[in-house]
Symmetry: D2
Subunit: 110 residues, 4 copies
């Protein structure tokens, strides 16, 4: 799959297996790239013996940014995969509902 170009809604219909987030890929990648930099910054702070509380503040920020990516992917997933399954047969929908529920359980740390 050459998916570099942002798929239009049309191409999504044609390839029902494509992940629901394809259109928002650049945004997700930019956020993840920023988070990678934040983690590197946190490592540097620890290496430099910076004050624990200041390191914790940066960890909280990175953790929140990571949850924002998760929230975006969940939105993509419901709009894409779950909706497609809900419109198709109910066995496939049931499978997606169970999978989404298990994923939310992990995201919520239950």
């Amino acid at each position: 799959m050459t998916a570099a170009a942002a798929p239009t809604p049309d191409s999504r219909q044609q390839h029902p297996g494509a992940p629901g987030y394809t259109g928002r890929k650049p945004g997700h990648l930019a956020r993840l790239n920023k988070i990678e930099g934040q983690i590197r910054g946190i490592s540097r702070m620890v290496a430099d013996d910076r004050y624990c509380i200041d390191v914790l503040t940066q960890i909280t920020a990175a953790s929140r940014a990571l949850q924002e990516v998760a929230l975006g992917l969940l939105d993509d997933h419901v709009r894409g995969c779950v909706t497609r399954a809900a419109r198709a047969d109910s066995a496939r929908a049931e499978e997606k509902f169970v999978e989404l529920n298990e994923t939310l359980r992990r995201v919520l740390r239950l």
Copy 2:
């Protein structure tokens, strides 16, 4: 407090303001290094249009690993900075209690 220069383990005895985590630095740095790799792996998964749920599973793992580092730093902080302040004067202790509480509030997302 002038503690701007990076304290060595030795300087910790000499400068009681040095961060409480110095002794466990290698462990924290190893974890953060691993998390940085996890984030890079998540970026690759998104770039490769991997299934949203699989990406979310990896995000949950990285997020949990990051919270583990936060937990370790909180432990260091209580053992080091808070304990030192509690043994010193009570104005300094009060300051540390308030700061710890605000930090926990952020970590708990309240």
Copy 3:
């Protein structure tokens, strides 16, 4: 869809605004009833000057139980309201996607 009986799928069709959780109401109510008892128990512990850590352990259990109810309601909501909207027109679906996303943001404390 033969939806397991319970919430009279018929009444759902007639009242499309009925919440998606109707079939699982007894389970949700039993859990909430138990949580109410847990909160009362925590109050008693505090009134009796029980050890902070023991009180915190019970608060964590009640908090987790409450998140379980939230998870169940989210599952009901996706299976019911979101799926119905996804099968209807796309303006209505869009509305539900945005609402679900805002709700998840609150549940995740972002």
Copy 4:
């Protein structure tokens, strides 16, 4: 320890094992009482088939209020029990550090 009778601030000095939150008991009890009412309100909403999203909003509020009580108890605990132990011998302090860490792990759902 017979701690059934509510320790006064005076008795706290005399019985160092008394929970650190004694002074803020009324505040904790008022909050817990309010949360109990919130849970009862959520039960009523479910019984009345109120919209899932509205129920979830109330669950999020109750959950946050419960975490606020946890945060208050953690603050009491650090100010009271942990500080007393830190000022006493280091074996007792170590015990408290480990216990606090395990408690934070549960509160953070790790």
